[in-house]
Amino acid sequence: MSHTAPLSRRALPGHQIVLGETDKLRLDSGVDFGPFTLAYQTYGALNADKSNAVLVCHALTGDQYVADDVHPITGKEGWWRAIVGPGKIIDTEKYFVICTNVIGGCLGSTGPKETNPETGKPWGLDFPVITVGDMVRAQTMLIDHMGIDSLFAVIGGSMGGMQVLEWCKSYPERVFAAAPIATSYRHSAQNIAFHEVGRQAVMADPDWCGGNYLLEGKKPARGLAVARMTAHITYLSEPALHRKFGRKLQNRGGITYSFDHDFQVESYLRHQGKSFVDRFDANSYLYITRAMDYFDLSVEFDGRLAEAFRGSNTRFCVISFSSDWCFTTAESRRLAHALNAASCNVSCVEIESDKGHDAFLLDEPDFHMVLSGFIEGAAEARGLN
C-alpha cells in the first residue's frame, strides 16, 4: 500500500480494530464481508454507565481525525475542531467522542486500496459495493465491541448526516439524540448527477487503469482532481464564491489570452483538486459517492418516509443552511415533516448563511448556538449534566 498513500495503514495514528472475523458483516448487496478493519479515533472518556458516548460521522471525504491537533496527512487541524474538543459544543471533557473512518474509506478502514486477502493484491474494483447502511452496520460492530448499548448522540453533516439517519432508522433504541446536519433522507437526482460527473472524470483518466492503478504503479490524479473541483463548486454558493474571488485575477495585471489560470477562482479550484489527490484514494471516491447515491431511507417503505421513524423515542435536531443547494432546506423540511408525522421529538432549523453546503464545517455562530442548545437539552434529559 505504501506506493500510494503517504502513510501506510500501520503508521496512521489512532485505533484500528479487526471486526467480522466470526460473524461477518452482511452487506446490503448480499455479500458476507469480513474480517475487516475499522480505523477510528476517540476523544474523552467513557463514563461508568457508558451513557456519554457521542458518535460523530464524517462526510464523503472526511475521516476519523475529527478533533486532532494535527491531521497525519494534511498537517491541518481535525475537520470539526470548531465543534468537537475540550470545552467545545461536543465537549470532550464531558462526552466520549468516537469517529470511525467509514468502511470503503482510505484512511485505515478496509477499502478498495487495502489488500484483498484472497489475492494478496489491492481490492480495486473487486471491493464489494457498499452502502450507508453497511457503513452504519460496521459502526455498530465497533460500538458493540466497546460495550455501549445506547449512544448519547449521533451527529454528522452531509454523508455523516445520512449515517445519522440510518442509525435512527435501523437502531432507534440505541440513539438518544440525533443531529442530521446539511443532509437528506435521500440523495437527489442533481447530486447523483454531479457524482456521476466526478466518477466519469476519474474513470476517463488513463492512469485509472480500469481501477488497477495501484498494481500498475500509477495514480489517476488528474481525473480525481477534476472530480474534486466539480464537487467543491457544489459545496459553495455563488455569493460565497463571488465574495471570495469575484473576477479577480491571479498574480497578473491582465488576462493572458490563454488557458492558464488567469482567475483566482481557477487557481483556487486547481489547488483544491491537487491537494485532494494527495490524501484520497480514487477508487474510494467511486465507492463512497456510490454509497451516497444509493441512499434513500424511504425506499423500503414505498416512499412513506414517516414509517422509517415510527415509534422512535430519539430526539432529533434537523439543521440546514439557507444557501446550501446540495442539501436544501426543502429536503430537510420533508424529513422534519415525516418525523412529525411519526410523532417524533423534532427540532428543525434553517441557519441563514451564504457559505453553501460547507457552512456546517465553518464558523457559523447561529449554527453553533442551535447545536449547543440541542445537545445541552438532550444531556439534561439524559441526566448527564
Binding site: R315, C317, V318, R333, A336, H337, A338, N340, A341, A342, S343, N345, V346, S347, C348, V349, E350, I351, E352, D366, M369, V370, S372, G373, F374, E376, G377, A378, E380
Partner: protein
C-alpha cells in the same frame, strides 16, 4: 406572534424568575401537568419553556420566524419552522393533549380550517385572539371612522399580519357552526388579566380586549 403585552404574571406557584406574560400564564393554568403540548406560533418559547419547567409537559413548538426557532432550539426546546396554515397536516390525529394557538388565529389565511386541524391533532385546543368587539374598536370605527389601533393592535391596517379579525361572538358562532364544545372561555383586559364578565356575554364582548377559549370536539 403579533401582539406585545409586556406585563408578567406574579401569580401563585411561580418563582420570580418564572414569570411569563399574564395572558400566557392564563393559558398555562389550563394545561394539566405531564401532558403532550403543541404550541403553534411559539415565538421565543416563553410559554413552551415555562410549561416544560413547571408542568413537565412533553412540549413541541411550531414557529414562523427563523429567529424564534433558533432561540427556542438554543434553549433545548423542540421547535420547528413552519406555519399554522401549511404545516399542521403532517401531525397525526390526537398526537397531543393540547394544541395551543396564542394570538395567531387572526393572522392565519384560513382560521376555520386551522381550528379544525388543532382539534384533529390535539384533544383540546386552546386559542386566544384579540377581540374586535371591544368597545374601543367600535369607538374608533364609529366616531373616528378609522381602523382600530391600540397598544394591543399597534400596526397600521396596510402592514398588519392580522387579516382575519373577529369578535368574541363571531368566534362563538363559528364554534357552534363547527359543532365544537366550549370547555372554558374568558376575556382579558388590556394588560392580559382575566376580566370577570361572564364567559362570552355581550358585556364580555364589549369590554374584553382579548379572548381565550379552550375547545374540544363532541364525542362520536
Amino acid at each position: 406572534m403579533t401582539q406585545t403585552l409586556n406585563q408578567t404574571a406574579t401569580t401563585n406557584g411561580t418563582t420570580p424568575s418564572d414569570r411569563i406574560r399574564v395572558d400566557l400564564q392564563l393559558i398555562a393554568d389550563m394545561v394539566e401537568p405531564g401532558t403532550r403540548v403543541l404550541d403553534i406560533g411559539c415565538g421565543d418559547g416563553e410559554l413552551l419553556g415555562y410549561l416544560k419547567r413547571t408542568k413537565k409537559v412533553d412540549g413541541r413548538g411550531l414557529e414562523l420566524s427563523n429567529e424564534g426557532v433558533r432561540n427556542c432550539v438554543a434553549q433545548g426546546l423542540p421547535v420547528m419552522q413552519g406555519d399554522a396554515d401549511r404545516d399542521l397536516h403532517d401531525y397525526p390525529n390526537d398526537a397531543f393533549d393540547y394544541a395551543i394557538l396564542s394570538q395567531t388565529l387572526q393572522a392565519t389565511n384560513r382560521p376555520r380550517e386551522v381550528l379544525a386541524e388543532l382539534l384533529r391533532i390535539g384533544r383540546k385546543a386552546i386559542v386566544s385572539f384579540p377581540n374586535f368587539g371591544h368597545w374601543r374598536a367600535r369607538f374608533d370605527l364609529m366616531f373616528h371612522g378609522r381602523m382600530p389601533q391600540n397598544p394591543n393592535l399597534p400596526i397600521m391596517w396596510y402592514e398588519t399580519p392580522n387579516i382575519h379579525f373577529c369578535t368574541v361572538r363571531d368566534f362563538v358562532a363559528m364554534c357552534k357552526d363547527m359543532d365544537l364544545i366550549i370547555e372554558r372561555s374568558m376575556v382579558l383586559n388590556e394588560s392580559g388579566s382575566k376580566v370577570s364578565l361572564g364567559s362570552h356575554s355581550n358585556l364580555a364582548n364589549f369590554f374584553g380586549n382579548q379572548a381565550l377559549f379552550m375547545l374540544s370536539k363532541k364525542k362520536g
